[in-house]
């Protein structure tokens, strides 16, 4: 194996790419965006998710309490106790497989990206990152001040030094693999609600 490593690396020492190859310092910020929050919302809706703005944690709690997904859920796993109590503690489970029947998971998103409706979730805060994909429904809670215009701004704010896993999640799981017909809910969450607080 170590032999292949040396051989492989050697193969790439003499290539056809010549001359100066360093690339210029670039910045492609999404400028001219009139209202990042509205764009964030409309992009999420365009990819099959839902996005709601609430004034504070109390309003968020009420929004979740009244949501259909909560009312229909048997197992609810909440990582934000101020917003929902939940009745399933994924942290107490030794194995991710035990989270297979969770109906609703509520977690914090650290960032929202306006240009593509993606929410950054630091999965290190969860004992079982599989929960994010096993759960039938997902609610992500993002602070209003954490909506950034574009991916470049988003990556500038994410700290990778100690991170083990993180996800940009944009909309519920979906597929169009059968005749290009969009079907929401492929393997992961069948619905996604993004709550923007403040």
């Amino acid at each position: 194996m170590t032999d292949s490593r040396r051989l492989l690396l050697d193969r790439f020492k003499k290539l056809a790419i010549t001359g100066e190859t360093s690339y210029a310092v670039y910045s492609h910020l999404h400028t001219g965006m009139s209202d990042p929050r509205r764009l964030f919302q409309s992009v999420i809706e365009s990819v099959g998710g839902e996005c709601r703005f609430v004034a504070d944690t109390e309003a968020a709690r009420k929004a979740v309490a009244g949501s259909e997904v909560l009312l229909a859920a048997k197992q609810v796993c909440s990582y934000i106790k101020e917003i929902a109590q939940g009745n399933f503690d994924a942290e107490a489970m030794a194995d991710a497989h035990q989270c297979a029947d969770v109906d609703l998971t509520i977690v914090r998103g650290e960032l929202g990206v306006a240009e593509d409706g993606a929410v950054w979730v630091n999965a290190d805060l969860l004992r079982h990152r599989a929960l994010l994909f096993l759960s039938e429904n997902l609610i992500l809670v993002v602070k209003g001040q954490d909506i950034v215009p574009d991916m470049e701004s988003a990556y500038a704010r994410i700290d990778f030094t100690r991170l083990r896993s993180g996800y940009f999640i944009s909309g519920p799981s979906k597929t169009a693999d059968i005749e290009q017909c969009l079907v929401i809910g492929a393997h992961g969450a069948k619905s996604l609600l993004v709550l923007v607080v403040g």
Partner: protein, 470 residues
Amino acid sequence: MKGHARLAAAFLKQEERAHWHDQALWYVREKRDRMAASIPDWEALRETAQAIKRHALANLPSYLEEFERNAVARGAIVHYALDAAEHNRIVLEILKRRNARLVAKSKSMLSEECSLNEFLEQHGVEVVETDLAERIIQLAGERPSHIVLPSIHIRKEEVGEIFHEHLGTESGESDPTRLTRAARAHLREKFLAAEAGISGVNFAVAETGAVVICTNEGNADLGNSLPDLYIAVMGVEKVIPKTRDLSVFLRLLSRSATGQPISAYTSHLLGPRPGQEMHVVVVDNGRSEILQREKFYKAAFCIRCGACLNTCPVYRRSGGHSYNFVIPGPIGTILAMHRDLKKYKDMPYASTLCGSCSAVCPVKIDIHRQIVLWRNAVVEAGYLGWAKSAALKTATLGMKSTRLFRLGGWVVRRLSRVLPPAVFNNRLTIWGKSRDLPKMPARSFRAEYRSYSRSKKKRLESRVGREGRS
């Protein structure tokens, strides 16, 4: 082996399906255009993406080592494979050591390139493709016809039949939602039972050792988080220098691929999850040869978005299975030729050279130019075939001599009026398969132009004369 033209003819026999295929892909292409127009710096992003690829690949050994160092520091185990056989062997060994018999696999064009599934199945490992399209293909016993939409050639009624046979759905079911739900339930069981997960890689970040995977279904995510063993397989060209560079590629990838702003899930994995063993297999399998060819090295910049397939008038109308290489369409052509010039000699001719592929490529690969150069290579190697060679040699003769060219025109103009059309358009003339020879004009272009210039001169003279008088 049948060439592209014959395979395409078979595809086109089913007219309704061929038309649907064309329209469905054109729709994706149009979505891509809308998405590209929705962000201000699209063209600049493409430039930057190419510059990053160029830089990363020119300095591949150091970036691979940096990636390895960082991934290992996070607890991943990094392997290197020179070719497909070594890649397959490494994956099998890892699985065997952990006694893994059932694998939940996510989409990976590299694994298709290496025929990993067949190899593992031969050695008693059950591999379950978990991307819906890949699962459909796997159950049907076919190969993908598109690199992003692998089952685009299969209609929903056929999916219904496949699922009826293998998943026990109701006979005659063809509703995409119900079929997808059935697949979800079936694959959820597999996810929960799998002893290992395997996935491809979209980007590997040297700076952090992160492996980045983009999916819409969430299958890669279940596959890399549930089992205690996870293997990521990647071609060397997936390495990019910095985290920041991800912003450039992610903004381009999904928009180019499916016309989405970003895929539903973009996973960043830095080492295994607690309690897990994570391997990354880095594969050359011919990439170093591509990068050593002066006129062709940019083919290795490809990020496998499939935009060139969606836009290609030939791909859309002939289907992915008309190309004999694992990757079809324009990018498939310029990758296949590095493998086997003789075997894939027909692929550069499955092109109109319209250049649309190069125009949409997010990393600005000069695809259509390379296709022309590959035609040169095919001719130089003597693989063109006697009929085409003879036709082109005759044409060359005529084009080189003004007298011969004029004489030829004169003869054909006259003969075409006297002889029956079958003389010009028969079984031997492929060109006439779906066209008729146009009616020949009475005079040559040369003669027309001469009389046109003469009359124009006269008109000018008379106008000058009139203006002079007034």
